[in-house]
Symmetry: C2
Subunit: 119 residues, 2 copies
């Protein structure tokens, strides 16, 4: 019973937030048995917040939550803000592991994906 | 003789720009025979600019330049600013096709990549 939470920055432009929501829905459709649920949350400017997103996973029965930063570079948001939000929620629910996955930009496969996009 | 130009937003944080430069270098290493060169350019806050990046490709002998936006959502930068910079340079060099690839966030393979990152 693992839940995946895709965390994006959030934008004033609602269409960008909607893109993230649609991506989370696609992830859910492709995830098969791997996750009980796939949802998204936003660091700022859009809802739900990261704590609210994690809370929803736990309330829905998640026994583990994987938080995946949908970010391209390891700036302050990735290195400080998101870990702090996760740590706060982990303290609140010590019995439910909340694991922070690497951010997208650090994925090894991104090189191959970019070469395919460029074709 | 195609050249690939990875275009990122650019950051005040030099380490983020450096991440992009390293990614371009990795792309070059993985591209094999597909591209004569792989470089990066920045929309703002870092060098080289997009026009300067395209110019360098052409001066190095590129017969085609592929501009790949390293962006996750289709905001104004992707839909207006980058196409405008590309169009300006295309006008300057009508004999060298400058092709704008889809932005990273729109890549079909991103779903599978995210599921791997989350593992």
């Amino acid at each position: 019973m693992k839940s995946l939470l895709l965390v994006a920055h959030g934008s004033r432009r609602e269409a960008s937030n909607e893109e993230v929501r649609q991506l989370a829905a696609q992830l859910g459709a492709h995830a098969g048995e791997r996750y009980q649920s796939v949802n998204c949350a936003f660091l700022e400017l859009a809802e739900p917040s990261i704590p609210d997103g994690i809370e929803a996973c736990i309330q829905a029965g998640a026994e583990e939550v994987i938080v995946l930063p949908y970010f391209l570079s390891a700036g302050r948001h990735v290195s400080e803000d998101i870990p702090r939000e996760v740590a706060g929620k982990q303290q609140e629910y010590p019995g439910v592991p909340i694991r922070l996955a690497p951010y997208l930009g650090s994925a090894e496969g991104i090189t191959e994906l970019l070469l395919v996009v460029a074709e």
